[in-house]
């Protein structure tokens, strides 16, 4: 079972980053891969168990379920329910921590999943680079834009 881990440091206080990331329906506002997102059945995005249904820029549709949300630990977990990309049993964990030395944010994003035989490398790269590193860079850009 492949495991993907990416982590970075963002030059903003942890509260700023958590305010953006804790919105399970907000990823269409900042992640370049996500075109639009809604929470099913009119639930709020901080209700554990809620499902986000979203479309990627290429039109494909995914559904993900919120498994854990912790304001105490500034962390959340989610799994994929439906996806055209063959990521099976996909569970991801996001966690933030303050860097007290400099008032910055440590951001850790990891997942485990199964893939069809022979596609591990391709899908591991897709998740780690396009989704996670792409997300890190997008948040930096998003914050820079907000300041402007």
């Amino acid at each position: 079972m492949p495991r993907v881990v990416r982590s970075t440091v963002i030059a903003e206080p942890v509260e700023t980053i958590w305010a953006i990331l804790r919105d399970f329906n907000g990823h269409d506002q900042w992640h370049p891969a996500v075109a639009e997102s809604t929470i099913e059945r009119g639930q709020t995005a901080d209700r554990v168990g809620c499902v986000r249904r979203f479309r990627l820029a290429d039109g494909s549709e995914l559904r993900e379920k919120l498994l854990t949300l912790s304001d105490a630990d500034m962390a959340f977990s989610y799994c994929l329910l439906d996806t055209p990309i063959p990521l099976l049993n996909y569970v991801a964990h996001v966690r933030l921590a303050p860097v007290t030395d400099g008032d910055q944010t440590f951001w850790h994003w990891e997942s485990r999943f199964d893939t069809p035989k022979g596609r591990e490398a391709e899908l591991t790269r897709l998740v780690g680079e396009e989704i996670y590193n792409g997300g890190f860079n997008a948040i930096r850009g998003h914050l820079a834009e907000r300041v402007r």
Binding site: R6, T100, D101, F106
Partner: protein, 145 residues
Amino acid sequence: MARVYISSVIDAPVGRVWERVRDFNGLPRWLPLVRESRIENGEPSDRVGCVRDFRLQNGDRLREQLLALSDYDYFCTYSILESPMPLTAYIATLRLTPITDGDRTFAEWSAEFDCAAELAEELVTNIGQNVFQAGFTALKRQMVA
């Protein structure tokens, strides 16, 4: 219960930082505050349960017991058995996490303890700044060298 939390980014791969901090008897090699240290009963310093008996530059003496050590998760947990500080039930954890972006290290050092309410603020500041932050500042300098 009082709580201390200090974290920092060290510009070196996690393996290198861990190599420096995992030795429970190695404080004099990286923490400027500590003058000398020994492990009681001639035990190896990576034996969980071992006790370090060490002296600070100012002559203060402390004894601390290793409660947990993980080469997999890069953390070390210990308690204070004896110290001149007016506190009890002190348990601390030093934890490293790789930062994949730039192959650096996220270092966290936290502690919880009981003390008289009017002493909490001073103890938290003292431990946080003079021990934990001073340790990270020293590590940052040493890892560049």
